[in-house]
């Protein structure tokens, strides 16, 4: 265990909540609505949460076997030295890759929605530097920071959703299951990776001070994130209708811009910037931290901090080359990413758990 920090179960819960909540609703609401239309709220609720439950089961069973080691640390113990290191390397690269996706999401949104003239690299570097500093200070610092930021984040989200309630037209949610239940199911996999972030229990379990509460954290997280996205989706589609939601790139931004209460409370989209910067920053910090730990485990380093700077530089560079346009990014998030996530969040941990179980028997 390279990081000596300790986090409480509430902090763990908030971190996972932040990982799920930060970017999903912004980039995927439109993609989900394109497929599921008025049934979008069904897509984002039960199925992803069931997937999340599956991941949580695997992850917690695995974490309990190695309570004092990080996932990438005990991989060589389970599957042998060389394959273990290789897998750890794969995870390192995945974390770096996802971190660059997040970085890309973050800056693309700010650029498209608020500041079109500022070069993207400026945002990239600024966000990366702050997040890297968080990761440098350790998980304890990230968790505490997150406690503060998550409250701001949640207040902003609740405020934006609550303020448009009067403009919602429930007729927009009809017809239910126009083309059968299939579209609603088809759209669900895009949301699955978000629920699958419960995987991060594997990377954070050793720091948890009350280890018996991990399962409770996972369940609570899944419960919260079965209700909240449904509410958000009902609000977005109820306000804009399935057609318009699918047509917009950032329906949530439009929702915030549409707020007008009593002719004086309007132009609230700055709340979106708050939500956005806060979410992306926290998410990046967690991913950087995990990537650095995984890299240090792979390379057998004694401190994870040395790897932080190279990781940051790599993410800043590749984030732009991977997805030059916003449409490529949303296509990737909705079509390719679910498959990656399925492998990384569920398949490999399940395999490791299986091998660990068998080896224990032997």
């Amino acid at each position: 265990m390279l990081d000596k920090g300790r986090i409480s179960s509430v902090q763990l819960l908030l971190i996972i909540c932040m990982l799920d909540g930060a970017t999903g609703i912004f980039f995927l609401a439109s993609e989900v609505a394109k497929i599921a239309g008025p049934d979008s709220w069904i897509s984002v609720s039960i199925l992803p949460s069931l997937y999340g439950l599956l991941v949580a089961g695997v992850v917690i069973a695995l974490a309990k076997r190695f309570p004092y080691k990080v996932f990438t640390e005990y991989l060589p113990d389970v599957v042998g030295k060389i394959p273990g290191k290789l897998l750890a390397a794969v995870y390192t690269l995945s974390f770096i890759f996802v971190a660059s996706v997040i970085l890309n999401e973050g800056t693309t949104f700010i650029n498209a929605a608020f500041m079109p003239r500022t070069p993207l690299s400026v945002f990239d570097v600024m966000l990366a530097v702050v997040a890297i500093y968080g990761a440098y200070l350790g998980i304890e610092c990230i968790a505490r920071e997150n406690e503060l930021i998550f409250s701001l984040f949640m207040i902003s989200i609740l405020l934006t959703l609550a303020l448009v309630t009067t403009d919602i037209n429930l007729n927009n949610l009809k017809p239910v299951f126009e083309n059968g239940i299939l579209p609603a199911i088809k759209a669900a996999p895009m949301i699955c990776p978000l629920r699958g972030y419960v995987f991060f229990i594997l990377m954070l379990y050793p720091y948890l001070n009350q280890k018996q509460e991990a399962a409770k954290v996972a369940l609570l997280f899944l419960l919260i994130y079965t209700v909240y996205p449904v509410w958000a989706m009902l609000t977005i589609v109820g306000l804009l209708g399935g057609q318009v939601t699918g047509h917009l790139v950032f329906p949530y931004l439009v929702l915030a811009r549409y707020i007008s209460v009593g002719n004086f409370l309007d132009r609230m989209e700055i709340l979106i910037a708050v939500i956005w910067i806060a979410g992306v920053f926290m998410k990046l910090a967690v991913f950087y931290h995990s990537a650095a730990i995984a890299a240090a485990n792979t390379l057998g380093l004694r401190s994870y901090r040395a790897t932080l700077l190279p990781i940051a530089i790599i993410t800043v560079i590749i984030s732009r080359t991977l997805f030059p346009t916003i449409l490529k990014l949303t296509t990737f998030l909705s079509q390719t990413y679910p498959i990656y996530a399925l492998i990384g969040e569920l398949a490999i941990p399940a395999l490791i758990l299986l091998i660990a179980l068998i080896r224990k028997r032997m």
């Binding site: 003239r117 070069p119 600024m126 057609q243 318009v244 439009v254």
Partner: protein, 436 residues
Amino acid sequence: MIALALAVLLLLNCAGCWDRRELDALNVATMIGVDRIVKDGKPRVLVSILSLKTVVGGAPSGGGSVVMPPSLGYVSSAEGETITDAARNIALRSPRLLYLGHAQAIVIGERMAREGIQDVIDYADRNKEIRYRTEVVTCQGSALEALESQPEYESTSAMELSKMIRNDPVRISKVVPANLFNMIYSLMTPGKDAAMPRMSLLAPPERGSSIRKGPASGEITLGKQSQQDQAGQQTGAKDQDVNPLLGVEEAQHPERKTFQVDGTAVFSGDKLVGWLNEKEGLGTMFITRQARGGEIPFAFKSPEPNASYTFRSASASVKPVISQDGITFEVMIKGSGQLTEDKNSAIDLTKESDTKAAEQLINAEAQRACQDAVTKCQSLHADIFGFGDMIHKADPVFWKQIGDRWRDYFPGVKVQVTASFTIENTGVTGEAIKTR
């Protein structure tokens, strides 16, 4: 060391924002007009911008009171091959950056509307500054002229127009309001056509109108006090011309125009196909549940309207009934209000029978308004009520059969309107004045 590096890095942010736009370098648009014109045989787009004149520099010295610039709004226009091109071309004649974030209305010229508004709405939708609550109106004639007309009560035409449209459902419910979001929704949703208010120009007939006697185009007087100040300070011949204190007669400009919102533009697809008058507008507002207050004049035992009913609330429910012999929409309108006019005390409200009879007449008028609106829209093949959308939502399977042909189907649809308005009181008087 790292802390120091970070501190320096953070310091960089304090220099300001890359995308900063200073107020004195902005051309703040309050209303956008879009026209289609033909120049040298080629179709071109003319974009007109009614801008707010922003104050540059500090308050003028001397006098003690701040003298506002004489003009609060001015129109500038530019043409181009596309709407964005034309809007950008305003830079050819203006040093300031066009800022559309405060645009309160988009005015579409009649010709543009007839040829299709899809690109106007798309432009406004894509533009990240224009907001979804911006009102959209069609004007008779060119949008440029509409923008040049003068506001009567507010400081800018945009403010006046948007307030008029926003107040309409509460006060009279005769014009169907539409903001940018409604337009996008109507264009994108199958089985729903767009409608928006019609703006038309009007030369005020009143001699005392502020439009006729006011200072030159775009200039708004700022109240008596400042005029007196100006008159006291400056004694130029020009000022005397426009000074209303010197007599109304000297500054009459009967050619100056203001605007009114007096009807509804009906679109089939994205093309303007016709207009609704005020009564048809009222009917549409009833059916689409937008009406919240207004007048229903009616004739009580008389050939001509001799009484008036003001409704203070109205609600409607629409139910599509699909049967063998076609589609019928059952529209139920409910409302309550008061009797506000009663010529020669024709209605005796102390009598139950008279009240009932009056209510029936009111209901008949409301039903007629609705039927007129439906008949007109059916003749235009424009389903501005969203009847098709209702079928889609109520019976998606049936909609799949007829959805593609809805515009052909719509004229054959039956609409049954039942209104039930109740008279709750009679204002502050009982019986009407009797002339003896």
